[in-house]
Subunit: 386 residues, 4 copies
Amino acid sequence: MTPIRYGMVGGGPGAFIGAVHRMAASLDREFELVAGAFSADPSKSRDMGEGLGLHGGRVYGDFREMISAEEEREDGIDVVVIVTPNHLHYPVAHACLMAGLHVICDKPMTTTTEHADTLCHMASERGLVFAVTYNYTGYPMVKEARERVAAGELGALRKVVVEYSQGWLRTLLEAEGQKQAEWRGDPDRAGVSSALGDIGTHAFNLLHYVTGLETHRVFADAGTVVEGRVLEDDATVLLELDRGVRGVMLVSQVATGERNHLRLRVYGADGALDWCQEDPNRLRLLDPDGTETMLFRGGELGAGAVDATRLPGGHPEGFIEAFANIYRGVARAIRNEGDEGEAAPDYPTVQDGCVGVHFVHRAVESSQSKTWVEMSQVSANMDTTI
Amino acid sequence: MTPIRYGMVGGGPGAFIGAVHRMAASLDREFELVAGAFSADPSKSRDMGEGLGLHGGRVYGDFREMISAEEEREDGIDVVVIVTPNHLHYPVAHACLMAGLHVICDKPMTTTTEHADTLCHMASERGLVFAVTYNYTGYPMVKEARERVAAGELGALRKVVVEYSQGWLRTLLEAEGQKQAEWRGDPDRAGVSSALGDIGTHAFNLLHYVTGLETHRVFADAGTVVEGRVLEDDATVLLELDRGVRGVMLVSQVATGERNHLRLRVYGADGALDWCQEDPNRLRLLDPDGTETMLFRGGELGAGAVDATRLPGGHPEGFIEAFANIYRGVARAIRNEGDEGEAAPDYPTVQDGCVGVHFVHRAVESSQSKTWVEMSQVSANMDTTI
Amino acid sequence: MTPIRYGMVGGGPGAFIGAVHRMAASLDREFELVAGAFSADPSKSRDMGEGLGLHGGRVYGDFREMISAEEEREDGIDVVVIVTPNHLHYPVAHACLMAGLHVICDKPMTTTTEHADTLCHMASERGLVFAVTYNYTGYPMVKEARERVAAGELGALRKVVVEYSQGWLRTLLEAEGQKQAEWRGDPDRAGVSSALGDIGTHAFNLLHYVTGLETHRVFADAGTVVEGRVLEDDATVLLELDRGVRGVMLVSQVATGERNHLRLRVYGADGALDWCQEDPNRLRLLDPDGTETMLFRGGELGAGAVDATRLPGGHPEGFIEAFANIYRGVARAIRNEGDEGEAAPDYPTVQDGCVGVHFVHRAVESSQSKTWVEMSQVSANMDTTI
Amino acid sequence: MTPIRYGMVGGGPGAFIGAVHRMAASLDREFELVAGAFSADPSKSRDMGEGLGLHGGRVYGDFREMISAEEEREDGIDVVVIVTPNHLHYPVAHACLMAGLHVICDKPMTTTTEHADTLCHMASERGLVFAVTYNYTGYPMVKEARERVAAGELGALRKVVVEYSQGWLRTLLEAEGQKQAEWRGDPDRAGVSSALGDIGTHAFNLLHYVTGLETHRVFADAGTVVEGRVLEDDATVLLELDRGVRGVMLVSQVATGERNHLRLRVYGADGALDWCQEDPNRLRLLDPDGTETMLFRGGELGAGAVDATRLPGGHPEGFIEAFANIYRGVARAIRNEGDEGEAAPDYPTVQDGCVGVHFVHRAVESSQSKTWVEMSQVSANMDTTI
């Protein structure tokens, strides 16, 4: 099979997530990096491209230049991977969709709900594949969790607890020139939120992916713990989900010592499940009688988990493999363009990205007003859009 | 040393906690059970007393009878252990204090804040020992956690997450004749709350014991998940603690599959700690550099933990031993009556019990009004009381 | 029920195991300590007895004195608890049996196989209860493991791995005046072995208790790691079990950092189990399909585990509770004397103690000869004895 | 950087390890698969090559054909990856070395010690890179373990326990047409051993890599548990290491329920470490005082671990990433050919492969003779070779 050709925007030197995307794209040899506008600084972009073995002519100083130059080529790019700070997601994605290019975009998808809605409409109208890298849904055991919930194994759902705790922003890192922290702490580049946008949206998406539940109302209590910081670095959000299911979300960037602690627990009338990103090869099931069952990737699991698995049990898979599963889903979607009969490929879509942006804005609004805020208009909006 | 003589009120056949108290009291041979009014039904009380090897004459059908009969004896009881349903805590405790008897009372201490305040005043005025069995503070590693927080090892505290999840009420057990569930689900006997009163107060006390932080305001979202149930069986509570420290409490009696999952995490500027009641011999410390240190009971720990430890490392201690540490604290307090020079014995006091009752009522009020509710009057009250 | 009266020999100041026995005996209020010869030094014995609240007249300077004085009393002791260094087990136990007293004796039961055989015969002939405190079999989840193996859940057994690792003797502690280390390192008091006798016998007994398998041959490789030490402090033993089942035992007193790591794994054709003493409330079952099931004490378990359980799931029980289960078994055996119809009470017997002593000697012999050594004569001996 | 071109021998449909090699080679885009002889059956080889996107002309029916055809091309392969059953390793590797090609070969390297010695000499004489994929040494935390041992953090080493347990051969899978089991169970293709050769050599290499200790003598007890099987499927090996350090190795293919349980524990006079392949992102350190420290990949670690790490802490890396580190080491070795000044690239060499083959043969010999067998001649041999 010929690899899908992609160009990358962002992901220059020092950028963590750009390298992750490149490894995820390479792993199964389904994608080939052929072009890039890695940095706003053309010389940095050039150095980066060279280091990555790109043909010099296909390293660009600007995303617009890349899009138009690649459009001219017979062997031009099929898809653009957007790994810039948040505020650039929209202009780049917009230009890509206008040029008929598929998009793989980091989260949060945009910094305003209007932009999110626009991209959602555009991608839908133009029939382009638009993935938002909520990569945690790529883990096989997350897919297993979803299948078991959908099959009713837990009975009627009752309570969902999702937590995403990190400690890396426990000091005012953004004042020390750390690039990752700098733009995430700057409203002009990050948008209205830091913790909720950067990791809360992952938690929100994971909750929805596994349970299938929509969020109707939110009550958020966001706070800024580290002095001198502009945006929130810690938040608790109460979620009213479908059928009154109770949701609680804890997010923090100042939970000292936590690395990347994303954990989801789902409690139903007849059972519960527990998955933790730092031990991703396991899924813990809690039975009402006090017994627990531990399922392992590579075991006898459902179709989704098996499809997302590369290695037998006991041979750990990790973050890159899960990320690569998002790419694999996109590859299938791109190759199957126009094929109506198939089940939808399993990757996080522009609609998922859009709901995530609305969630962030509603949560920020709730925290400011200290009241419950309706998500309903968002869902309505989505219904007509999709 | 001569054992302290105690009488028990409640704890008849089928009562879980009565047996726990008796084992905790026996373990170190510091207490001796000599009298009891185990059940409102005199014949049940008698059978129970006999089974426990009590002298027939000292098994009573009623707590008032026990108190007055024991007062007559030269070898009468020194202390009364109250292990009845909640609504009886107050009348029994009140009568004991009136008769000059020390009290060990289960939590929540009373079903109204007025009763709580009254007991608090009475015990204080009469100089009697009054312990409320927030037994989880008896664990050595909880004491270690407290010492390390107090020593500033975590730096300025920032966030506290406490969770107490159980699944035993996932069905309407109170309708099936299960005694424990029956009275806990009945407002006449349990008071205004089920989950918050039964387990939330433990979580609240543990948080305070370890961090030393007072709670200023609460926002609670309590819900009744199981149809047909009267009181709440699930709640999330946001706590505004001293100096703006952010607190979150999760309590549930319907978290299917959870046994007795009480866990406390404290995040400071320079470190964090994590303790879980189901693995009580360990204390996990999180360092900012991403390293974790696991401390074990029996290791080289602080004075509090060492004092509360009976066995070397690797020889697990559990719930009964922790409970017995509460009894040990009470024994010391009783034996040292009048001794002013010493450090206060380490056991949960009537003031702890009182604050707990106020917490439950403020949380219920917040959940009904959907607003933040001040705890301040409680603290004020306590300041003048104690 | 009237408590059973016991006297203690050994367990003076600084002795760890004496205190454990006293707590285990007190927990269920089935035993009452009424007499003692706690130390060879009469004044130390007296101080100890006083601290324990014993009547002065019943604290003795010598075990023979205790036995004869107590024989005279109407309310004399029923059973003697022997918690001395190893070399005294035999003379004390022998004198007790001669006096018609039941015995609870620490392990290893004796320092020679001849003495072990003698006690075995005597206890049997006189119909006295003689327990050897292989206390780890008192854990509920160990009983559950045994029941599941016996029920054939694992299929035909194939391999057993038992490990008992400690690190407390990583330095030449016996040269620093540490009492526990001193006698354990001295052949005159410990016997022919240190690690194998002190902890290897526990491992050996646990393996047998859970699997029901007899050992036919052993190949041992014992070594002395710490310079200056006389006896072995580390050993690996290969065991040929019934029907060719393969056994491996690892024991060490110099496994730096290990506290009391006793772990048993049993692999069968259809499943496996894994139990670890430092997490005693769980039993891990491994299924052939790569799924694991975690059973918890307090859950829906077999009769043996349920009977040995005091608290509901999630309320950890530990070492003392397990130890108290041995005492409970002894109490039942003593109370049921003469009752032939009942199932044998579940506690480690003099025969278990005897096989353990033979195991130690055969393993030491194998290590010296560097050959496999037969255990068969021991089993034969046992068959005729019991 | 231009990718290194490789051809693959073996790794056809149904082969697990071939796919792993391809993913490991792709991950960092340092290698490019350009040729292959995937199967002895030319049509299967062709289909495989097509599926992998290879140019038809470079898919060969036979390794000799591949070697000679690629020699002719200007853009021919630089290195051959050998992922066939064991008995073919030697002829393929031999032909590659004769043709001046670098080799990446699966383990065990050969089925006879003579062949192992020959390859060792040839690779050395011809100055070619020859890696044997003892892939577990590619894990960052294994490198961290090695650095800490080398730095003396554990003090003088005393005992090493290495275990590699799997359960996949608990039935006679080789009789059911399972390909992986078939050749591993057949002496003509696997060599003199199954468990020791397939997984014991991994354990042996890991032990040596982390501790730096040579093995002087072995005592092995190998057994065949499953009826009808020809080679051993379970073994315990005692190892006498440098300076009398005591080693124990447990290997099993019939440990029902175990997935891929490779675990190494190293005990020194001053500390210990514990690493488990199924939780590879952690390294547990045991301190003499009973405290444990958990190090995590991505934290502040030594140079080796940092170099081998792609993602920050909390973003799990797994088996493929570790495998890719072996490839990365090989890439560096190939690119630095002739560069004498540098530290040797870190990958398992032909000498490691050779010692592994000798280990297997000595262990089998010991198990047959039931005596300790010297490894010394091997080390001697190696000394002169290298």
